[in-house]
């Protein structure tokens, strides 16, 4: 019998603090990659996620819809990730990243370079655009799922993703 989020939240509020681990395991697995993508650094993302869980625990009695703990925690997590990314030293400037040669025998190296280019280009996006882009292209969510998770309308999310792509296109420039 899998406990619902609402049931876990209620029990934790009643004093069974060890049950909070259920939520940590559940949403570390669900949002972990998203956090790393938003922050751009694995260790810093782990720290941000840890802080987000602590903040969620401290304010658990203000979670108005315990059965939607995931959406509530997602907001805490993304805010923490945005703060963390803004405090990190800037990622490598995209101009410093060697572009893939295209005819290199080392395809893995080419792919790594492509990845570095994207990570560097993400610094040029607003927090909202970066979040929308990650939800769409890293998490692979539909716009409807994104709207359900963020509480932002589908049209607004499409706009953010489109602007993010346009900015990436501009920044990637000659690399394309």
């Amino acid at each position: 019998m899998e406990l619902s989020d609402g049931m876990v939240v209620q029990r934790v509020l009643d004093g069974e603090i060890e049950l909070f681990r259920v939520l940590v395991e559940r949403y570390r697995a669900k949002f972990g990659r998203h956090a790393v993508a938003l922050v751009g650094d694995r260790d810093a993302a782990a720290d941000a996620m840890q802080e987000a869980f602590i903040r969620a625990y401290d304010s658990l009695d203000r979670c108005r819809e315990p059965d939607r703990f995931g959406s509530w925690f997602f907001r805490i997590l993304t805010n923490q990730c945005h703060d963390t990314r803004s405090r990190l030293r800037p990622h490598a400037d995209i101009a410093e990243v060697d572009p893939p040669s295209g005819d290199s025998p080392d395809d893995d190296a080419d792919r790594r370079e492509l990845g570095l280019m994207i990570n560097a280009a993400l610094d040029e996006l607003t927090a909202e655009q970066r979040e929308a882009f990650v939800l769409k292209h890293v998490d692979g969510r539909s716009y409807e799922e994104m709207a359900d998770l963020t509480g932002v309308g589908v049209d607004a999310l499409k706009m953010r993703v489109h602007r993010a792509r346009d900015t990436l296109r501009e920044k990637l420039g000659a690399r394309l």
Partner: protein, 215 residues
């Protein structure tokens, strides 16, 4: 790079993975390159490991008790009681009266099992209460009825209090409440709990010849 400053509408649809029109071959090549770059980047993203769970729980354990655990709540949390049978009915009535007076307002799902009187030398009537103002129906289930989810329906009283009285032989019992036929919860106020084997916990009530001795 193409002469476009921005992606065309068709390119956005293509990047969304939705049906698109006749995408310019050059723009499609660029879109494919971006998708490949994103895929390469995503592959390199390693999510935090299970060590994160341990770190979070260690910090939580090291913190002070939740604010909700302080104040008047300790007054209404069930405590083990021992009493002579003759005092049990009065104690039960007093406990319920105190509950109704001390409680500042409706709060979902609160309960307290109280022994009321001995039916026989080794059987005790035990009252179970749950405050659940929003519930449509509440049942009591446990080892005393083979975990039948709907055998012991509780009666609703004023203030959203659900109650039932069971004659229980002296012994130890595990139990939960079933709200609206689907939501199983342990007694929110019970201190005695055990693993239910399904990732949750059961409340425990211990009935002695002189009443409830632990809950």
């Amino acid at each position: 790079m193409s002469i476009r400053d921005r992606w065309s509408a068709d390119a956005h649809r293509y990047l969304d993975g939705t049906p698109h029109g006749d995408l310019d071959p050059e723009e499609r090549r660029e879109a494919d390159l971006v998708l490949e770059a994103v895929e390469a980047w995503t592959e390199g993203l390693e999510p935090p490991t299970k060590a994160l769970d341990d770190a979070v729980m260690a910090r939580i354990r090291a913190r002070a008790p939740r604010p909700a655990d302080h104040g008047w709540r300790w007054l209404i949390r069930p405590q083990p009681i021992r009493m002579r049978p003759v005092w049990v009915p009065l104690a039960a009535a007093a406990a319920l009266a105190f509950w109704l007076v001390a409680k500042p307002g409706p709060e979902p799902e609160q309960s307290i099992p109280v022994a009321s009187a001995s039916a026989t030398a080794d059987t005790v009537f035990v009252h179970f209460h749950l405050v659940a103002p929003d519930a449509r129906v509440v049942a009591l289930t446990g080892t005393f009825n083979g975990w039948a989810a709907d055998a012991y329906q509780m009666a609703r009283e004023d203030g959203g209090i659900w109650s039932i009285t069971l004659p229980l032989p002296v012994g130890e019992y595990q139990y939960q409440f079933v709200i609206n036929g689907e939501r199983w919860i342990p007694d929110p106020r019970s201190q005695a709990r055990v693993d239910d084997g399904f990732g949750g916990t059961n409340s425990v009530v211990v009935v002695g010849p002189r009443g409830v001795v632990q809950s």
